[in-house]
Symmetry: C2
Subunit: 239 residues, 2 copies
């Protein structure tokens, strides 16, 4: 059940059998949730963290003026609110974008890991650090690139992240979310994202129909997106 998490961590450092065994026993329960519901509300005290097993969830913040900013999209294997172990109350909300299955890991269990398994602790800490690197990249894309690049970028990133967990191959993957969701992830309007999608389609780079993404020209897409996957940290290094 936590194979995906192990796999994701193993892309960044060796995971010993002992660590692997501890990971297997992290989850206390599994939740099934429908699409479009809040998993975690902003500011609500948490006593467990969650691993996404199946489906799509997003982390988002809302502003007084009403806008929604999606700070992160999560794919299966992501320990998407591990930071609530430290923060206790999150500065943002988390919602399902599709029906999801989610593994619940009590903070008590995580605390025990930090007391008894320092290497695994560091891997989990690394996991939150990767999350930050992702947020920085998104921020940089939002602040310093054109709307077409911003939209192209998300297709590139998701392809590599899904590939790691075996959910993308041959430049195709399922992306069952709405154009408005992408807009909220980039600080754009839904209408404008739609126009940028048309542009990318007409350029022959990528198509996104009926929840299926097909990348026709990876090299050119990454060029338009100014996509450099370094921030995903897809290499092993002792931690």
């Amino acid at each position: 059940m936590n194979d995906l998490l192990t796999r994701r961590l193993a892309f960044r450092d060796a995971v010993s059998d002992e660590d692997r065994a501890v990971i297997e026993r992290l989850a206390s329960t599994v939740q099934a949730l429908p699409a479009g519901v809040d998993v975690i509300g902003e500011g609500v005290h948490q006593s467990a963290s969650r691993i996404l097993i199946e489906g799509w969830v997003c982390r988002y913040k809302t502003r007084a003026s009403g806008g929604r900013q999606i700070n992160q999209l999560h794919v299966p294997g992501d320990f998407f609110d591990l930071h609530s172990f430290l923060l206790k109350r999150l500065d943002h909300s988390i919602a399902t974008l599709t029906p999801c299955r989610i593994a619940v890991v009590p903070h008590e269990t995580l605390r025990a890991v930090t007391e008894e398994h320092p290497h695994l602790s560091r891997l989990l800490w690394l996991s939150t650090a990767l999350d930050s690197a992702n947020t920085r990249e998104w921020m940089t894309v939002m602040g310093r690139t054109s709307a077409v690049s911003q939209v192209a970028h998300i297709f590139c990133e998701l392809y590599l992240r899904l590939e790691v967990v075996g959910l993308a191959a041959d430049h195709r993957y399922a992306l069952p979310i709405s154009q408005q969701d992408v807009a909220d992830a980039r600080g754009l309007t839904g209408v404008h994202v739609n126009r940028m999608l048309r542009q990318l389609r007409e350029m022959g780079l990528v198509e996104w129909t009926r929840g299926q993404v097909t990348i026709h020209d990876w090299d050119e897409l990454t060029r338009v997106a100014e996509f450099d996957p370094t921030y995903l940290n897809l290499w092993r290094e002792p931690r």
Copy 2:
């Protein structure tokens, strides 16, 4: 020397005498750096992390198209590249904006902390989680608020962060960076930031001359900025 770090952590959880003693012995050396130099280059292998003692540093990314995005501004007491302990190679660069004094903490020392001092480890992990919360807030501000709000927001945030380390009081503080730096922190142009500053000045909210910020109307400034300090996590909770 690491008083500021202790102080910053103590705002979020009790710091025991033992933890305090360990913090005192973290730094191996202290560096003095001039303004405008890179402390850490993107992708360069790191074997130590750094605490800012005095001055201003920024973390930034550059894009192929040439733009610079400042992802974070740091004030004294910030353990500004603690995440390099996990990542080893950062996805961004770090530069001084003013002359700085910086304490260097070897990764070996941090590793020993994770092996022997789990509570302090969690506090350090928390410290990186706070950093992420900050990035998320900036991202949200960039994506979903007007340029005036974005500029107003930075004045609000820095006031509270500087107050924590005793560098701001009476709605005044030193901000010896350029308007272009603020523009790069918000994904705007320098020219536009200048116009927004005039607007804020003419509204009687805040003045920024010769590196000195004076907030004339905190309540209204926070309203314009849609500033809600929750994300700064300025309360104590057991971690």
